[in-house]
Subunit: 126 residues, 2 copies
Amino acid sequence: MITKRTYTISELASEFDVTPRAIRFYESEGLLNPERDGQKRIYYSKDYVLLKLILRGKRLGWSLAESKQLLDLYDPSQQNQNQYHQVLQKIEESRLRLEQQRQDIELMVLELDEHQARIEQAMSGT
Amino acid sequence: MITKRTYTISELASEFDVTPRAIRFYESEGLLNPERDGQKRIYYSKDYVLLKLILRGKRLGWSLAESKQLLDLYDPSQQNQNQYHQVLQKIEESRLRLEQQRQDIELMVLELDEHQARIEQAMSGT
DNA sequence: CTCAAAGCTTACGTTAACGTAAAGGTTAAC
DNA sequence: GTTAACCTTTACGTTAACGTAAGCTTTGAG
């Protein structure tokens, strides 16, 4: 019999370099729903993955509400709420936003490259 | 004699679909510094570009303070403040962050693709 | 047994990025 | 010459995403 890997809140916190408070906050906002052992929260690898997705969203500037929408798309227990074509539409919206971000990144990197070249030019002329 | 293109604050606002208040706020945070005609602010294409960069940063989840740092790198009048190698270092930091975001986007898009395929599978089986 | 470490809830505080509103100046059109 | 459409400044309000602190419970180690 295999026992699933579990995490305490502080384990999860140090794993991702966030505070327990933040993790609890994500739960209060409906993004996580860990099981309990009495009072204590128990996190499984499912929650681990969810937290990873949340933090990925944060790095991309998504609000928790936006990330929640995305997570809900993947949540089978919510599948009845969201009609299929509605899900497909939300997927498409996310994709568009990501595409825009991708463009923004390309441009930023290009400009950084150019500016770096200018600086190095100026430095060589010292 | 050519006269440069200028913008009023509301022109610039509607151009980028933000409010005049937001533009004034960016100025108060030191990201913009439009000239004046008496009381009135006058924006040139230089400011137009700056605002574009600010909003691009916002789409990538950068704070105004972070965007300001980036803009300061491009500002020649600040060039004396920032030593060359310091500038190069900040450029490198920005590049790293953008690289991380790029990765995050790749992963998100991949997962969206997979999920979309699953949905379409499920739909075809109706 | 006891005490330190970790967990819990509740609640108030904080920062960023504006929104909203008030009160007033300027100017082009009628 | 007055009204509508903008502009200005000042100031208080709001929301998101936690931080911080207080007070209480649980638990493994010595």
